[in-house]
Symmetry: D2
Subunit: 307 residues, 4 copies
């Protein structure tokens, strides 16, 4: 149960079976940092090129293909006061006829929002652009992108997602949550980054309030537990994440994974599990901006069999 | 501000500009009943053929094409103790490879769940099939299908949805909610039915806990307010509903309608509205079983400009 | 085997079980006319409001729900020299980021192409806008929209399509083709219109070369032959049309209908039919502009069992 | 203009910036071989593990990111007489309700078709399963999967496709065709494999007639020509390939790429290009089995400006 403090010096823009930066054991905790989506760190220095740079990979001893990696998110804390975002909805989340009416910046320009993030006050305050009445939102720090080395020797951009996790941008990935990933490579090779001080569902403007973070997490390994998509649980719910396009297919993946979970691990009959899901399931929309969209399928724990 | 008590004697399986069963004035309240999705009433007699039979249409005086119909759902109360549903996920909400693993009934048979609905106790209890540990869920009565006569002389099946509303199966359509529909025909011609004692998101088993209901609603007309998709509000949120397939397009419709609402009616600049939505929007999944899917786009009222 | 000459005096913008304009018998032929998509006739007078106005409905004696209506397209001939179209791709057929780069007309204006259609020369010549080098294309007259009264008492806009046919905009619906429609209402109630002097696949600019036509067709009824989607055949191929969104679902409908056809009517085993389709199927894209898209699944007749 | 004869000894199951197996110059020709999708060679020995193993990568001198790689397919010839395939449609290409009716093999079994491929006779003859009347189809040898190292350091499975090409399974990739790929890595790093003796559109059974091949191709480099998706041309058409899901998005990519081509390289005005495409475009369906689907957008060369 070692606590490792790890300071990253290089970052990855793909999830891939790269040489690990640290080897850790089941039960170990890591205290580390993540840069923002453009590669800027706590001091607002550009530490690495943009594109959701990842801290890691961390090799978890004993994790083998076919196992499940457990990641408990102990703490996610913005480590600077400057956050940034977009000021326009992504063209793919509005009607095609509405795309021209979006607030496009003048040709050649890029328009960003700038936010003052105050962890003590738990607020993100919009500094620029100035909007009537101002805009102050509560923090809800989350990891936009994290996951493991993918299957089949692939290297998958941190701009998208898949069975390995990745850029799911789900607001439920906050401190206190336990996340499960399928293991495809020895050591699982866990990556993390793309912290958001907060974010609307879907990341429909293409960003949250982007920020560098201090992150603390604890890993474990479930030998021989085979899952197909990222899963998670918090105090009240279990959930599954499907990553694909269209959203219909992401929903199919997440729903199938939830049915499997109930039937294969909770010992519910198919009729029991599916009757329950029909009347009690919930969904949340993760990223709908990237090449792969994310749909989260949720179920309240109180409907699960007593163990 | 008349209160009408209306007992239906015929029902519609399409939303269409049919002869009204009652003419009511803005501000009027209607107390009426709905049969279940198979056409069975409070006494479990089959009053009309199946397929989401609708009570109505109600002609609202003064409502003209280009206006908005306001429907406040005052009360939705199951009026019998018997509810029914499905025991299997719909084939279209799971991975194609998983379809064979669904708990299909033997050839030629149909399998239903039967529920005991106790309004006083606020519970739906699964009576059959018998599942290990039993299943008792809280009630959350809602209208699965309601809306107005569609545009262009169409008659649209109550098995699907569109700009006119229809079979949206959104769990947020509960008592206390105000719903807005675009008016396409003189009098708007409001229909309602398909009550559910409760339902999971998406209606992924193809049914909620289907039941006949007593419904009380109050109408109003907003002259010259032009909307494109159903909208609504409750104590905490405003929301819009997009109806289409794939879910991506439903989300585009709902998001565009929300942006229009903020920009055109709340006087927010496009940059203000879209920066806000990017960091504060939420979504809920309505029906993902029918030909058209439903996505609901939500925003907390506390982020709206003070009026 | 009567030949009826029918001159329409009213038109429909929905497919619906309307009172028939003419009752015809199996084997009968009808010679009639269609107005263009905006309701203009051979003399360029506006005969009826726009929106794919339909000639019909024709009641075919003996056609009952569960039967199949056979329509042989004997002749489709533009009956004036003026055709029109759009000069811009539809926003929904290009990447969302490309929508702003389309050649939008100035605000408040509409831009049309104007074509000189010469049936004798078999050419459509672009008159306006003037483009470098000019543009002369061969004619390929087709019906954009035709079909029968839909199921369930629906009235479906001629702007879209479904099991009943409708606005499929498939370039294969030319003279010489035999089309099969499921019958949902007594008499089938056949409608036709929306002639195009020619059209690219997908109707991706939202129009073909729109024109009024003289049409001649011959009907028949296949008692007890139950089909689910429009089917057709020409000299070389049999084909099925699936109508839905996304295109993936249209393809599923068309492919399933083709498999059923081979297995249920041609007596092929499922393995035979599906092995053959895997190595010999072809697809064509119908309308990808309307609410429902159209995908056509084709198979060369030479691979069918000798009858 | 060297002609290289290259015998592969290792294969790749991802497109990735791997060390090149051969460096070749613009204008050079390569004569090489490909194994079948399961890794079996001309002698039916398993040379490498399954999953569309690729021959290559070939480093093309002078190709830099932002350039275009030109690959002329000189010859694709099956180099053995044994081909294999599937005997069942893929579950994702039929209606969800039809999945159970597919000819699934008994649990634990896999069912393949076996074909006798006769290059001299130009036929593929179905040997097993035995079907009534037999099945003999003409050969149409093609490459199912080929492309270049992807952008951003990704390694993309040869089971899918993207801007880099990959498993597009388009029947138009036959001898005589010239294909253009965007260059993302120095030397482009060209891979090829997955030969099919023939294939239906869409690869809807999940395979063509899978076979090892002798392939001859000639490369060139177009400096500074920036394209976004694979393009191609044959004697009669130019075409573009979009790779994504749903098919709607693949169509958007391909159509946008075609509009860019006409406008940016053929000097057509946007109105000219889009008016022409509206009335003359064609589409073909590539792979609809893999994670990313392929849609090909085609235009006859006779409508292009004289150069």
């Amino acid at each position: 149960m070692t606590i490792h403090t790890f300071t990253p010096t290089r970052y990855y823009n793909v999830l891939v079976a790269a040489p690990p930066v640290l080897r850790i054991a089941p039960g170990d905790t890591v205290i580390t940092t993540t840069v923002d989506a453009h590669g800027f760190d706590a001091a607002r220095n550009q530490a690495t090129p943009p594109g959701n740079p990842m801290t890691g990979p961390f090799f978890v001893e004993g994790a083998e293909p076919g196992d499940t990696l457990v990641v408990h998110l102990d703490a996610i804390t913005p480590n600077r006061s400057y956050g940034w975002g977009n000021t326009m909805l992504a063209p793919n989340v509005v009607d095609p006829e509405f795309v021209r009416d979006l607030p496009w910046p003048p040709p050649g320009e890029r328009r960003r929002s700038h936010w003052h993030v105050d962890v003590a006050a738990n607020t993100a305050t919009l500094v620029d652009p100035v909007v009537e009445g101002g805009l102050v939102l509560p923090l809800a720090p989350m990891l936009g992108c994290f996951g493991v080395a993918p299957a089949g020797g692939e290297a998958i951009s941190t701009a998208t997602s898949g069975p390995q996790g990745g850029n799911m941008d789900y607001r439920g990935f906050v401190a206190g949550v336990t996340v499960y990933f399928p293991v495809f490579e020895p050591g699982a090779l866990f990556f993390l980054g793309d912290g958001h001080a907060r974010q609307g569902a879907g990341e429909i403007a293409g960003t949250g309030v982007e920020i560098s973070c201090d992150v603390r997490f604890t890993v474990n390994v479930q030998k021989g537990r085979r899952i197909f998509w990222p899963r998670g649980e918090n105090a009240t719910h279990i959930f599954t994440a499907g990553n694909a396009r269209p959203l219909d297919q992401a929903l199919q993946h997440a729903t199938t994974e939830m049915a499997r979970w109930l039937q294969d691990e909770y010992g519910m009959s198919a009729i029991h599990a599916q009757t329950l899901l029909g009347q009690a399931v919930d969904y949340e929309v993760g990223n709908v901006f990237d090449p792969a969209y994310t749909m989260v399928c949720k179920l309240e724990k109180r409907w699960l069999p007593a163990s």
